[in-house]
Symmetry: C2
Subunit: 228 residues, 2 copies
Amino acid sequence: MSILPKPAARTLASDAYERIRAEIRTGRFRPGDRLRFADLQALCAMSVTPVREALARLTAEGFTSLDDHRGYSVAQLSLSELRDITANRKLCEGEALRLSIERGDAQWEAGVIAAHHLMVRVPQGREDMPSAIRDDWDARHAAFHRALIAACGSAILLDTCGRLFAHADRYRRVSVSLLMSGRDAEAEHRLIMETALARDGAAAVAALHAHYEKTAEALEAFFDGQGS
Amino acid sequence: MSILPKPAARTLASDAYERIRAEIRTGRFRPGDRLRFADLQALCAMSVTPVREALARLTAEGFTSLDDHRGYSVAQLSLSELRDITANRKLCEGEALRLSIERGDAQWEAGVIAAHHLMVRVPQGREDMPSAIRDDWDARHAAFHRALIAACGSAILLDTCGRLFAHADRYRRVSVSLLMSGRDAEAEHRLIMETALARDGAAAVAALHAHYEKTAEALEAFFDGQGS
DNA sequence: GAGTCAACGATTTTCGAAAATCCAGACGAT
DNA sequence: ATCGTCTGGATTTTCGAAAATCGTTGACTC
């Protein structure tokens, strides 16, 4: 049984949204690439209208950008934006985790433990693995981080965190193997979980911050090497 | 032909976006109202395609909501969401203000003073005033709050704050006069500005938090009276 | 040779109608 | 009387082509 519950896109527009978003996430559409309607229509096998709606949504979320009458293109990645995202994640997810620890009940604890278990049962994705495996781990990784902050009680904060996570995800994707080499991501995740379940807010937030900092540092090194 | 004072609206879609957004802001479209394409086409004098794109953007920003095949409607207002927005504003704008105070230069100081001056030169909007006057004060009020955090150095944080401000704005609109009666908003604004310019981060953030709390309290009282 | 401008090609943006979908009410069966 | 099915009308969603716009090429002038 698959983790992906097949959300069954109810309209072509949402189908196109998920499809194009996936192409950007996986790097098939590269940062800066122009997105021509003709190509996207061919890819999604539909007319221009739903494609346009999908691009409008993607742009509102920052995955693509729009110049009037010059069309859409994939949003650029930059070192400065990576730093910006990291700082905002520390602020928002840190606060959300603190609130979750303060307000979470046994149900929340169970959710965190379950999500962590599902994540560690699957090997961490590497670049040489089939993308389906990598996608699977990514989905479980995202679910774990979501479970941590699920009890914060603020729908808006959860939305903000989700947005930031999705953007950070794009950066993480550019080099999975480099990112995780020489690190013990499992230990970092376990430390976050254990301090959270122990209701030690300060320690949990500190662990979360350290986790993000290490991720950002690895990516910065990669970016420097690339010269982009 | 000379260029009219309307440099914006480079496409019909963005024109529709601003128009519908304004109708929601001013309360002409009420929370929960269904937004039929036929009506919006008549209002904006254009076809369905740009209207659809406008609604897609508005939905991504939370002003409208979409049920597949059941159309768009104006997002509801609720006491719990108001509390949620207030909490998030305290978190995000508080941090942005702290960063601005830390990093802002003389240019930032000048911007704050200028925006404050422009705001106090115009009388606070009341319900019996023509809406053009109210809109004017609202715009200057928004500009003042933006100027305060302009030097925070984080584009993403500024975006988040702008989103939150726009939502809070909808709540403030439901009762301008009640909101400001018995309060001294001018004094609150001045205190924020003075502590910020004095580079007293803690005091400025505290003043900002108090400002938001008072706004939220006044609105809560209004909501209770309405029973909604 | 450099600069200006007009027409062209490529692409986005918009239109109006057709297709798909949902809601409400009527009808019949249990 | 209640439940479930079916149809009519209203509304969204999608299509394919037309209109508008931008960047570029090439000719033409200075």
